[in-house]
Structures are given as structure tokens and as C-alpha cells.
Subunit: 566 residues, 2 copies
């Protein structure tokens, strides 16, 4: 059996090596236009920081071998043609036409089965100046090397990063902490990590970035990248100019589908991804495709989306190998799990964000929980959780979390991502039996607590109110609003005399004073995290008060946004 | 509605407070024989270390309020009778007969619904001397205070801890690190954490404990605790004497079922736990029970077991409140999740251990995976995973992990514990889509990798061999054994010339030398972690070699046991 694999990074190499293990008799040829192959692209941000000193470390095994063509030949039994461009697939003849880039010679390589692992290419925005010297994408090791060389030369003072998505946020630390460079981030959307997390959490990230000295411009409307003598000078937006001697385009990627299109394989006009079935066969059953170049099904919406993630590429490579070897394996879809480190924050999610869930037509609702993720003596700081669920069915739609740089966020994501394919309800999360010990979590895990809040919302046990509405009405001195702060006098001190309609009635005095509050005003109960507010609201409702509301997450949430409320 | 709750620690207080929130009209009385209530018993080990300075911190809210009877009255609207002993339940009259311990007066307290949250009592072993001065259980705050007082007095030189279970291991750090006391651990079983984890992982813990200076005696057969003038002097075993001025009995707990038995409620003769239905009603439907005093169903075996965990007690308290309030909530059973910190290790598991699975009649098998839990630049050290599954059905039976003191172990446990109720197969774990980023894990999460190993076992893709067998045959210079170490010459160096039948053929030379190995010997392929061994074994099998075996976990595992193999 002759198997040709085009692309030798994540999916391609995984498919090649596993197939060779399953079918040592298979003749496997990997083709890549580059000669820097089989590398961990997700490690590039840490090459920029210098944590990874030599670029070769991102293609080194745990036993210190460099994964180059020689390695694949000797260790894996896989032939690798590097600096070789796959120009065309002749599906009738079952050959791949390649050009050897070093001598421009061409050849036809026959295959019985073909694997497209062509990956993604950076989306380059349309505004003028993207081709100027000093404008980079972080799309491969060569660019990363060039960026770090510029930093090492000490000639970079101002960096502009265009795009505050996954990559944009991951690389910030390299510039500000490792190299002391001033950073501006320009984001088109009104929030960082658009579509991935919702504003009630993204505002925490934004506030932290600003505290780190990042100049963060949301809703940025870029007109052009300005240069002088072909060198970048800065970025002009509709209303400002941001000087820069280095610009990183972090505006996402699109599937590298050229070869597939040219071969007449089905490519989605909507996503641009190569269309595959569950066994990862393209519209030609002898041709498989996996990794960033394909579209996949989102398990919660049933719709096809792009999900360019190294972890999925590896999974898909394995599935392709199993199937080519004569086994049976399926890629059933994605639940959209992601996590990233941004400074001392871990940020992650899975399923749908509230915004996406609504735009997908779900009657969605969300619960917010703020708490320390473990016993105070072991705590590294507060964590923020959001659970998105369907009001009609109570099914879980998504989950997001921001916490300190521990694996606490990962732990909660792991739990939710694992059960999402089983379409759990909020009640199922209440029931999750998550291992407990004070160094690791609270007696009921943050997931359980977040699900409790969701359940209390579902059963109408309290009425939520948006913090933004509370803040607006406070600032406008709305006479119909009374904020009752049930924290202790010590906790309340920063708010003392700040707003006339923000009063302090400590938690332990509420029961005895319950008859003294006005019934003709909207009572907003606040505390530090929300637990006391909820308890107090139950007393109010029982006493016949109806206009009683709780802004979820308490003062801790709005304070983490950077609002002047403590 | 009058509700009486007996026991005011975890389950009892959770039930009381939630019930009051759901039914503010309910009249709730909590009864406890102690006046130190509503405390986090799991925090006691950290009171011993001094991380928790004042014992009151284990019963303090996040907003610094002490949870005493006054707190429950003012803040929660719950009456609490402390230092009050519930002596008898008259189910006909629906009253609880109590005795006020401070004045010995008695009273009958009527109830509509009664909750038994009587917890557990320490199992005190039967050998002589357990009543001597200086012998303690860590069963409550008073004992913890007395133990710390003795440590603070500086008069403790030698501690003997009897029992190397959960509590036994959690408190070690307090004695050796915080107080510099010499510690001997006596364990009846041939391993630490018996039944919880299997020897292939417990030996790692044992080796680490010995490295920390703990004198760890397994298979200990205690004859008596020896004293002088009523004060403890040491422990006599069948073959030794261990001096001690302080002895901690950490031999587990049993359900406190006296009151239930006396009231004629059904109590299991097998477990000693109070028998409850899924709604946590006892054999008298007006009497509920939860927490350490009940037996629960193990979801994987369907059998009733004891699972005294603070997290479950809290869950059960909540369920009881929902049901008494007129709602509908069920406790469907336990998957046996646990985690603990022991020095710089995190140790956890869920489901069944291999040993328990076999004794429960499963045709069980296990896969072992050793790896760094994240990219090397972020790693805190190696992690060890074991997946237990059923050979016939491929269903997952259990999972165990030991890793550095991060939340990495928690993360993997969270994933597995969450799906165990759905009875996943090994293939389902292969498919788990776990969020990836280099600071947090590897492109395929350790769970995925462990499941790959399990899958390779299921499909017979390699033949496992026990390390113990390899070690024995090596030591006996078995002429039918040839260990082929496929690591690099640098990695192999510590093993050079150590055993005549342990040779080095680096991974990258195997393919070219594959025809040169003997076919009439058992070839045992070893590498550092197991990945290279697996790959190499596939080449051997393809070449017609049949007697080719892999000891899972590679040299890293056996080295972590403390064996002289590096």
C-alpha cells in the first residue's frame, strides 16, 4: 500500500507514524514545502519569550531528537520529502504532481491512499501596508525567528498587535515582560476573545491587560499600515495613529484548501474547509483530510465550523491512520474546547458562548459564579465561571472560566468538555462528583456551585439584574433604585458615602430589619461574591418584596472589570 | 413545618441552610453534642502544619464570620442547640429526646421531618494501649488542638502514625516539615492507600515517603501500644518496637449509627451505614439521613459502600433540603472520586482500583502511562496515570493518577469522574476533546494517551510484561531474557554493564538491525516512558518476532519505585 501525505506538521506526521505502526508494510511518503517540519506551532509564543531558547526545541522529542526527514526515515520508517511542493493531484491516475523547490524538478508520486494535511494559512487583512517590512504573522517558525531577531537587536520600541484573539493574547507577555517593549493591541470587535468568551468575562481580561500596561483599543477601525522607505512606521485607524516598528497580524487563519479545490474535491463555500465525513474521507474516498484544513461538526449546533487546534489535528491524524489501516475510527465533532495562558491568567471555555448561543437561536441564559477555586490558605486568587444553558431544556450549552495561572481552569474545562457530548442538563452538573481536598478545590467544586446558581435561576429563586444596568442607574441617581450592600461594615468601607442610594445593612442584621425596607423601589442586593445576596433575597421574597434583584458575581465581578466599585 | 436536624457539621448545616432558603417558613432546629460546629474537618491537617493558625479559621466564612449558633440564628434563621445530645428518637410521637449536656436536663423536641447527619466515628483498633495518654485520632477539632499543643510544647520527638490511608498520608507533612518530628508509619496492608490505588502507583508514593525520611513499615502487625505511667512509650509489633511520644490512629472511620439503630431504622449489617433510598429517606420516610453515617451505591458495581467524604456530605445535605422542601432530588450514587496532597505529590483516583475491580469479579486490565503533564518548559515533573478497564466490554472501570502538586491530577480526575456515570468505553476516552495549550498539557491530553495505550492493549498491539517479572529474571540472570534498551546511549549510561542481558540498541538503529536479534528469547523492550518501546515492538512483531514484551511506564516507572534502574 502506497500512502502519500501532504503536510508534515501535526495531523500529517501523526497519521504517518501511526499508520506505519499499524501497517509496517505500508510505504508512506510525507511531502512538505518546508524543511522545518513536525513542530509544535503552539510553542511559538514561548520561543518569543525566550523560554524556548533555540527554535529547534519546538521540533525536538522528549529524548532530544530533532524531528527532521532523517528522523522520520530512521526512527519512523517514513520517507519525507521536504522543500517539496505538492502542485496538483491527478485523481484519475492517482498521482500527486510535486515540484522539488531546490531544483525546480517535477515528478509524479503515485498513491493508493492520499492524506491532505495542508493546514491553515494566516488571514491577511485587506488594508494597505500589510506587505511592509516589519509586518509579520506568527504563522511559522521562520517568522517567529525573524521577530525574535528584531527583538534581540533591541531596535523594537513599539509593537502593534492586530487582533485580540487566541494568538494575540498569548504573545503579549513575550513583548512586555521578556523584552520590555511597549504594546498596543487593536481589536475590531468591542471585546477581546470575541465569540470565545462573553463580555462579562472578557472585561476582566481587558482590565488586567490595561493594568499590565497594554494599550488596548477595542472597536478599532484600521485604515492602513503606514510605512516609510518600505519600513513600517505605525497603524492609522479612523481616529488615531499608533506608532510601531513591529506589527503582528493576529487576525486568524483560514483553511489551506487550494490543492483540494484544484483537485475538484468538495470544499465548503461557507467555511472554506475541506468537506469530510466522520471517517475523515473527502468527497474522494481514497483521499482523507484532517487538521486545520477541514471543517468539522460542532456537536452542540450540528453545524459545520472551523476549529484549527493542534489537539484536534493530532486526533484526526490518528483517526485517518486507523481508517487507512483498515480499522474503523470516527471524528464525531468538536465541543470547541480551548484554553490559553495570558500573563498570570488562565482563560478557557468549551461549548458555546452566550453570544454565540443566542445567535444560533438558542433561548440561552447564563449563570456567573465568582469564588476562590480552593481553600484560602492554598489560593492563588479568585476565579470566574460562567455556565450557559438553554432555558427550555435546561441543557448545558457552554462553560467559560478565568482564573489564576494554575490548572484550576483546565480542571473545570476537562469536566465539562468530557460530558458535553452526552448533552448534560444543569442538574447533571449539580450531581457531578468531583474529587475534593482543600488544596485543590472547595467541598462543592466550583462547577457544582455554578450549576446551583443556574438551577436557582431556572427555578426562579432569584431575579438577576445586569451590573451595567445597576451602574447606569447608580450614576444617574435613579430614585427608584436602592442598592442594599449586605457585606460587613469593613467590607463596605470603600463604598461608604459614594452613592446616596447604596446603603449598608450587614447580612446578620437583615432578618431583624426585614420589614423596614421600601416596597416601592427596586432593591438590588449586593455582597462580595453573591452567596449572601442570594440568601438575603430569599428572605425578601418570603416577606413579600417582589422588586428584589441580584447582579451575579457580586462586587468582586464588577471590581475585576475595573469599575470603581470595591 | 418543624424540621429537626441531628448533627451540625457538613450535611446537617447544608441541609438546614438550604431548606431555610427554599422554605423560609420552616422552623428548623439543629442539634449537636459539640459546640464547635460547621467546620471543615478536611482542613485539620493544615491546622497541624500551622498553615491555619487559629482553629476558628476552619469554621469561618469567606467574610470572616464564625459559624457558631449565633451565626446560624441571625444569618441563617436556624436554631442551633449545641452541647445537646440526641439520645433517642420516638418515631410514634415524632419527637427527639435530647439531653442538654451543660445541665443534664432533658427535653422532647417535636419534628415533622427529621434529618440524621450524625457523621462517622473513628475506628479504634482492638490492640491494647489505645487508651493511653498520647494516643489520638484526628476525628475532631479538639483532638487537633491537643495534638498541636503537644507539638508546640516541643516535647514530641517521635510520632507513630497507624494507618497509611487518606488521613495518614495527609498529615505526614505537618510532622516532618512543620515540626521536624521523626515519623514512623505502620500500615497493616502491603501498600499505602490500600484499595484506593494499585501497587504500581502506590510504590511511587512509598518511595517518595522514604525519601522524605519517613520510616514506612508495610505489613505491620501491631501487638500493642506500650505505655509507662499511663503515657505512651511506643508501639510493639510482631517483630519490632517503635518508640513514640505521640501516636495517631488513622485507621478509618465507621458510620455513627447508634441513634438510627435504637430508633429501629434500617442499618446495613454489612457496611454499618444507615440505609437510605435515592431521595435519602431512611426506612422511615419522615426521617432523612446523609453524610458519613449512610451507605451509598457505587455506580460501577451497584453495591452499597461507605464513602465518607465532605463533598458528598454537602451534596447530600442539599438533596435532603430539596426533598423536604417539596422538590425532587436524588443521590444516584458515588463513583468514588478522591484526591489528596501528600508532600509535593497530588494523588487521586475514581472508579475502581485494579485490585478492587478484580475482586468484584470484573475481567479487568490496566494501562499505565508516564509522561510530563505539560510542555517541558512549564513542567513540574512527571505524572503517572493508570486506566482500569473491562477486557470483555472495554468499559472504563477506574482511573488513578499521581503527579506533582499542581491541579493536573485534579483535571484528569475531573474529566473521568464526570463521565463515569455514563459508563464510557476506552474509545470514548480516546475521543475526549480536552482543551490544549502548552502551559497546561500536551497536544493529546494524558487521558487521551493513556486511553491509546489501553486501546493498543485491547487490540493486542503489544504484549505487556510486569516490571516485577523483568526485575526478577534480570537478577536471576535468566538466559531466556534479553532486555533491549532503545534509549539513546546518553540515557542508557546508568545501565551500562549493569546486567549482562540488558543491552542498548538506540531507537534510530532498530530498523536497520531488526534481523539481528534472537528469536528464541523473550525480548523485553524498554525506553524512558514507553512510547519508543511500543514503536519498536511493532517493528519486531512485523518482522515475525513473537516473544516481544513491554513493561508499561518504561524505566521512569520502575525508577520512581526506587528500584536501582535509571
Amino acid at each position: 500500500m502506497k500512502v502519500v501525505i501532504i503536510g508534515a506538521v501535526a495531523c500529517g506526521t501523526r497519521a504517518a507514524c501511526r499508520l506505519k505502526r499499524l501497517r509496517p508494510d505500508a510505504e508512506i511518503i510525507m511531502i512538505d514545502k518546508d524543511d522545518f517540519i513536525s513542530y509544535g506551532a503552539c510553542l511559538l509564543p514561548y520561543y518569543l519569550t525566550g523560554d524556548i531558547f533555540n527554535i529547534d526545541e519546538i521540533r525536538t522529542t522528549s529524548f532530544r531528537a530533532i524531528r527532521d526527514a532523517e528522523f522520520f526515515k530512521n526512527c519512523k520508517g517514513v520517507i519525507t520529502l521536504t522543500k517539496t511542493l505538492a502542485e496538483e493531484i491527478d485523481r484519475q491516475k492517482k498521482v500527486v504532481k510535486v515540484k522539488y523547490l531546490e531544483n525546480n524538478k517535477t515528478e509524479e508520486i503515485p498513491y493508493d491512499k492520499l492524506v491532505l494535511a495542508t493546514g491553515a494559512v494566516p488571514k491577511v487583512p485587506l488594508f494597505p501596508g500589510v506587505d511592509l517590512e516589519g509586518v509579520f504573522t506568527l504563522s511559522n517558525a521562520y517568522n517567529a525567528k525573524k521577530i525574535r531577531e528584531k527583538l534581540e537587536e533591541g531596535k523594537v520600541e513599539n509593537v502593534v498587535i492586530i487582533g485580540a484573539g487566541f494568538i494575540g493574547l498569548e504573545i503579549l507577555e513575550a513583548f512586555t515582560e521578556a523584552w520590555g517593549v511597549s504594546v498596543t493591541v487593536l481589536e475590531y470587535f468591542p471585546q477581546v476573545l470575541p465569540r470565545l468568551i462573553d463580555p462579562f468575562l472578557s472585561r476582566i481580561v481587558e482590565n488586567n491587560l490595561r493594568k499590565k500596561g497594554i494599550k488596548l483599543i477595542l472597536n478599532a477601525r484600521i485604515k492602513e499600515i503606514v510605512g516609510e522607505n518600505r519600513k513600517v512606521k505605525g497603524v492609522k485607524t479612523e481616529d488615531n495613529f499608533y506608532p510601531a516598528d513591529l506589527i503582528i497580524l493576529a487576525t486568524g487563519v483560514r483553511p489551506n484548501n487550494e490543492l483540494a479545490k484544484k483537485a475538484g474535491l468538495l470544499v465548503s463555500p461557507f467555511t472554506g474547509g475541506i468537506v469530510v465525513n466522520e471517517r475523515l474521507q473527502t468527497s474522494d474516498p481514497d483521499i482523507y483530510a484532517g487538521g486545520d484544513c477541514i471543517e468539522v461538526i460542532h456537536i452542540l449546533t450540528g453545524k459545520k465550523i472551523l476549529m484549527p487546534q493542534g489537539s484536534l489535528a493530532n486526533k484526526q491524524g490518528r483517526i485517518i491512520a486507523t481508517n487507512i489501516a483498515g480499522g474503523y475510527a470516527r471524528f464525531k465533532g468538536t465541543v470547541g474546547s480551548f484554553i490559553l495562558k495570558c500573563y498570570d491568567m488562565s482563560i478557557g471555555g468549551c461549548g458555546l458562548s452566550y453570544g454565540v448561543a443566542c445567535s444560533e437561536g438558542f433561548d440561552a441564559m447564563y449563570a456567573i459564579n465568582v469564588q476562590h477555586e480552593r481553600a484560602h490558605i492554598f489560593s492563588y486568587g479568585g476565579s470566574y465561571y460562567s455556565l450557559i444553558f438553554d432555558k427550555k431544556t435546561n441543557k448545558v450549552l457552554g462553560f467559560q472560566s478565568i482564573g489564576p495561572f494554575t490548572d484550576g481552569t483546565l480542571a473545570r474545562l476537562h469536566a465539562i468538555a468530557s460530558i458535553l457530548p452526552y448533552k448534560p442538563s444543569v442538574e447533571d452538573l449539580v450531581e457531578l462528583e468531583l474529587a475534593y481536598s482543600p488544596p485543590f478545590n472547595t467541598a462543592l467544586d466550583p462547577i457544582n456551585i455554578t450549576a446551583h446558581i443556574a438551577e436557582n435561576l431556572i427555578y426562579g429563586r432569584f431575579k438577576p439584574i445586569e451590573w451595567d444596568e445597576v451602574l447606569n442607574r447608580l450614576k444617574n441617581e435613579d430614585p427608584n433604585l436602592l442598592v442594599i450592600d449586605v457585606r460587613t461594615p469593613e467590607e463596605f468601607r470603600p463604598m461608604k458615602d459614594k452613592y446616596p442610594n447604596w446603603i449598608n445593612v450587614p447580612y446578620n442584621e437583615i432578618r431583624s430589619k426585614i420589614k423596614t425596607f421600601p416596597k416601592d423601589k427596586d432593591l438590588v442586593i449586593v455582597c462580595s461574591l453573591g452567596a449572601r445576596s442570594y440568601e438575603v433575597s430569599r428572605i425578601f421574597y418570603h416577606e413579600g418584596y417582589e422588586r428584589v434583584y441580584i447582579p451575579m458575581g457580586g462586587v468582586s465581578l464588577v471590581s475585576a472589570w475595573g469599575e470603581d466599585i470595591k
